[in-house]
Each structure stands twice: as structure tokens, then as C-alpha cells.
Amino acid sequence: MVKRISTPLSDEVVESLRAGDKVLITGYIYTARDAAHKRMVEALRRGEELPFDVKGQIIYYAGPTPPKPGMVIGSVGPTTAIRMDPYVEPLLKLGLKGMIGKGYRSEKVKELLKKYKAVYFAAVGGVATLLQRHVKKVELVAYEDLGTEAIRRLWVEDFPVIVANDAFGGDVFEEGRTRYARI
């Protein structure tokens, strides 16, 4: 079964999701990866505001290729999420509800998802042209000088993801591997 959700996310929606669920996301999501996270967390440390209100929002760990003429965005698949783990808590504290990336998270982040009622989605890494088709609109939000690592607001329709870590400690990678491991 496929669940359809839209952003911003409420606690109720987050709590309805379980690791392994196939989900289609519609609405605004925000791209940010290594350099943008570093800047956001440094801004918070200095007592400054973030370039966008993260409350209820989803951050997509991605840095697209430049669009060809006539396209809204280039290829845009997820990057490895675990590199962003050191920056997650301050954003969750401000109400961030979801993250999209690839690969597993640290134990610490899994605990934080429970504590702050948030969810981590995995998109299929590398299928960047297929995912690009679900992005209908793109606006630059902040940090233009970072190039591909700038924060962008994307309007996505039926963006396909899988719930990797839910708000109850569920983990699709652990569960999946345990089922198929032969050593």
C-alpha cells in the first residue's frame, strides 16, 4: 500500500507512518546538505534566525545538477544522510518534522526522531532523473554562493520515498537486512 501525504507535516501524520511504508509526498520541501547545514547551525549558535521556518517542514538532503534549458531542475537524487547527523537536533528542536536522504542514521538520530516526533525518509539513491520528474517548481531560498549546496524550495508532486526510520524506533534497513542476511 502506498500512503499519500502533504507538507507541512503534523504530529498525527508523522505518527501514522511506519518504517517500510511507501509514501508519496506532495507540497514544498527544502534542499540542504553539508555546507548549508553547517551555516544554519552556526547561525543558530549566534542567535540568528534560519533562512526559512523549519516548523512542520521536510528537508531533502540533495544537491541537484544544473537544469538544462527549459527544465526547472536538473537530476536530483538524495545524498548520504548520516553526514548531516551532527546538525539534526537544533533543527528538530525548532519543529522540523521530516528529512529525506539515503542510507542509515546514527543511533542518536533514531532516538531524536522518537523524542521530537519526526521521521526520516529514504529515497532511492542515484535514480536522480526519475526523481527530477516529480519536482515541478524551484525557488532559491538562501546561500546562493554555495551553488548546488544552496537552500532551495521545491514543489514536489507524488515524490516517492520509503519510511526508513519512524517516530517509534522502527528501522527499515535493520529489519530488511536481518530478514535476508545469511551470515
Partner: protein, 281 residues
């Protein structure tokens, strides 16, 4: 002595970078189609379907298969009877990277310096260039853009000779296990065994240039490849790490003699965006 203008190298490298990014080689694509037949995990099958669909869109529409268009790794097998004229090979390769990145709408993913400022160079330069001097009067160029998701999970170990085959096997399997979902399986795993510290890493990378599904011509190495492939697929990660039978579609091994006191092993993890393109001038 045959003369080749350096501009021909530039032209070839530029075209190969774009080709590699848009067109996953047939051998890799065939391996994913075979994997789809073998895979039993429902999520794993779905991932493989997305991978195959993505490869088709990228080819047909001329788009980068993956948004991480990588750092450009360029192998130049330079025939010893060739004289390259009209400028430096290194500059020609980097100019090719610059032009391919811009004209092919590829991502600039390289920073300098690596530790402090990490400022994007803006045009994906410089490339990593490997030169080998070989017999003949041709130049063979292989371009292999490499993303960081899988490169970051690659490892090297200086094992003890007493660790033997079991030690090698354990290190390869452990590396694949640790790489897991982060490195975008199904993988092709490149393994270099022997040589020394830097040479076994080079061999692991070079091993990946052989077509997926093709066994090594040396029967001993061919057996090693088969056994390692079977072992790494017992790990159970499956496509994108959601669980499954196909964690790797192939393991490629290169071996080299080593010091009496050494047993170096390097494992280079290649994600499913197994991008290679080559040409002979």
C-alpha cells in the same frame, strides 16, 4: 613515432565525461536486469525497477544518471610510440572537465582546500589522472566519474601474511557490510590484493574497469571473484539496503606480487551508477 595533438585528448575526454554521466554501460544495465529476476525482496525489486527506469530516462533525455556527477577519474594508457604535441596532457584533461561540466550540465562537486575553506572550484576541476605507459602507438582513455557516496565507504588494510585468504575475505565482506545502504547498492566491488599501500588501492579502482559479469582471465583470480561475490551477497543488504539477495552484482579482483612481510588489500566500492566510457585514439 606517431604524433597526436593534445587537442584530440581534450576532445575525447570531454565527450567521454558527458557520455559516462548520461549512459550507464550496457554490461551494468544487463546486470541490473538479471538482478531483478533474482531478487526476492519486494522493496529490492522496486529499487531495481527504479534503477533500470532511471537509466533509460538518462539515456533518452541526455540527463545525468545521478546528481552526483562525481569527481572525474581519467585513466590514460599512453602507447610508448606516441608523442603528444601542442601542450600539456594534464591541462588538456582539466580543460575537458571544465567544458564537459558546463556544456553537459553536470554538477561541480570538487572543493579546494579539502579541510579548511572547502570552497567549490566551480567547474569540477581538477580531475584525478592515472597514467600508464603501454606498448604500441595508441592512446586509450577511460573516464570513470566517481560519486562520494560509495567512494567514502572504500577501505584499505595492510593485513598480515598469516591472515591469508580468510583474512582477505573477512575484510572484503566487512567493508561491504559497513558500506551498506549509504553507498547505493547493488554494488560492483573492486578489490586489489598485493602490491603495496598505494598500488593495491590503484588495482582496486582499475579492477572496476573490466565489464560487469566478465571473469578474470587468470583462473585463480576468477575463482576468488566468484567466491567473494557469493560471500558479499550473504550480507543481506539488497538493493539500496532495504534487505535482499543482491547486494553486489559483481566483484572484480586484481592481484600483484607483494613483499614477503605484506598482504595489502583495498576495496573500492562502486555504487550502481557504474559510470565508465572509453575510447582509443
Amino acid at each position: 613515432m606517431r604524433e597526436v595533438p593534445v587537442s584530440e585528448i581534450k576532445k575525447a575526454v570531454k565527450e567521454l565525461i558527458i557520455e559516462a554521466n548520461y549512459k550507464i554501460p550496457e554490461d551494468a544495465l544487463r546486470a541490473y536486469e538479471e538482478a531483478l529476476k533474482k531478487e526476492q525482496s519486494p522493496l529490492g525489486k522496486e529499487v531495481l525497477q527504479q534503477i533500470i527506469e532511471n537509466a533509460k530516462i538518462a539515456r533518452e533525455q541526455g540527463l545525468p544518471y545521478c546528481q552526483d556527477t562525481g569527481i572525474d577519474v581519467v585513466f590514460i594508457f599512453l602507447g610508448q610510440d606516441v608523442r603528444v604535441t601542442g601542450g600539456s596532457i594534464e591541462e588538456a584533461v582539466n580543460e575537458a572537465v571544465r567544458e564537459a561540466t558546463k556544456e553537459g550540465y553536470l554538477r561541480a562537486s570538487v572543493v579546494w582546500d579539502p579541510v579548511f575553506e572547502r570552497k567549490n572550484t566551480g567547474d569540477n576541476t581538477p580531475a584525478i589522472i592515472h597514467y600508464e605507459v603501454v606498448p604500441g602507438d595508441k592512446i586509450k582513455i577511460v573516464v570513470a566519474p566517481k560519486g562520494a557516496g560509495s567512494e567514502n565507504t572504500s577501505r584499505l588494510a595492510m593485513l598480515k601474511p598469516a591472515d591469508g585468504w580468510e583474512g582477505v575475505k573477512k575484510f572484503v565482506v566487512e567493508t561491504v557490510k559497513q558500506a551498506g545502504p549509504n553507498a547505493c547498492p547493488p554494488f560492483t566491488v573492486g578489490v586489489g590484493i598485493g602490491g603495496n599501500f598505494e598500488y593495491c588501492a590503484y588495482l582496486a579502482k582499475k579492477a572496476l574497469l573490466r565489464p560487469v559479469g566478465q571473469r578474470h582471465e587468470n583462473p585463480l583470480i576468477a575463482r576468488v571473484e566468484e567466491e567473494l561475490l557469493e560471500e558479499v551477497n550473504k550480507v543481506g543488504w539488497g538493493p539500496m539496503g532495504f534487505g535482499g539477495l543482491v547486494t553486489a552484482v559483481d566483484v572484480k579482483v586484481e592481484m600483484y606480487p607483494c613483499h614477503i612481510a605484506s598482504l595489502p588489500v583495498a576495496v573500492n566500492i562502486q555504487c550502481h551508477a557504474n559510470r565508465h566510457a572509453q575510447r582509443e585514439i
